[in-house]
């Protein structure tokens, strides 16, 4: 059986759905036997879920205004160049 240290080295593979089934089985064997690594896996998964679940916030109004001004200038310049 893998040690905890070895298991943690392969944690990414364990979380990756495309990892080869043989490797997966060896990793799975460790998690079912080891309560500590079980908790680490569980809380790492939750960490990723919570980050993926957050929608980006809206941009501050003044930042947005300056972005659009810059873009408009650029677009106008292109129009002029093309005649």
């Amino acid at each position: 059986m893998l040690t905890c240290k070895q298991f943690l080295q392969e944690l990414n593979d364990y979380l990756d759905p495309n990892t080869d089934p043989d490797m997966k089985r060896r990793l799975e064997a460790h998690v079912t036997e080891c309560p500590n690594c079980f908790v680490i896996v569980d809380t790492t998964k939750k960490t990723l879920e919570i980050y993926k679940g957050v929608e980006p916030q809206t941009i501050p109004e003044d930042v947005k205004t300056r972005l659009w001004r810059a873009l408009e200038r650029k677009m106008a310049a292109r129009k002029c160049a093309q005649g």
Binding site: P35, L48, L67, Q82
Partner: protein
């Protein structure tokens, strides 16, 4: 707040038509593309640079450059991946400049994932995202990212937030695939540790050297 994956990914067909129009000089079409992605690009820029002023510059530069170089976008990758690459390059340039000024703290201690360290082995309370306000969650997540070294947080942002592949991330950052993997592991473990301190169930205080 829900944990459903981001639904901002628009219809691909719809998008390639939009990109084609933008390339043909349709300002309206380009405007639509900016509207779709400005929030994500701004978040990315802020996460990498950790500086409001730099993030704003990156946002502007990324879309201005994209507009200027639309001709060189051939549509074999997604428009979003392309604009993310431009933004990441701009953001890294800002970061390097600041590192030069030494305003970015260098080498904060980080969980390496390679040594035996004391790790929190606490179970989380159920649905932490329902126990805190949206703003509180946002702040907790942002602070945790901010505490990572730039090399680690950049890999985490591209792989786990922007959902780029390992190969795309390696190419974008100009580093090897193994480097992406090891930085991602360290970043994930460090963030897990930080969020555990925040979200663990009351009375759970177990540590283990793993």
């Amino acid at each position: 707040m829900s944990l459903v994956p981001s639904t901002t990914a628009p219809d691909v067909f719809d998008e390639s038509a939009l990109v084609a129009k933008a390339r043909a000089g349709d300002a309206q079409a380009f405007t639509e593309l900016v509207n779709r992605y400005e929030r994500k690009i701004y978040r990315l820029a802020k996460h990498i640079t950790q500086n409001d002023e730099d993030a704003e510059d990156v946002l502007q530069e990324a879309f201005l450059k994209a507009y200027e170089h639309l001709d060189s976008f051939h549509g074999n990758s997604k428009f979003y991946t392309w604009i993310v690459r431009i933004a990441v390059n701009e953001a890294l340039m800002k970061l390097r400049k600041r590192r030069g000024d030494r305003t970015v703290p260098l080498d904060e201690p980080v969980d390496t994932g390679e040594e035996m360290v004391a790790r929190e082995i606490a179970v989380w309370e159920d649905n932490p995202e329902q126990r805190y306000s949206r703003e509180e969650i946002q702040q907790i997540l942002d602070r945790a990212i901010e505490s990572l070294k730039p090399d680690f947080r950049t890999v985490f942002i591209l792989r786990d937030i922007e959902e780029m592949s390992t190969e795309e991330t390696a190419e974008t950052l100009g580093i090897s695939v193994p480097a992406v993997k090891s930085r991602l592991l360290r970043a994930r473990l460090a963030l897990r540790e930080k969020l555990t301190r925040q979200f663990k169930r009351k009375g759970e205080d177990a540590f283990a050297y793993l």
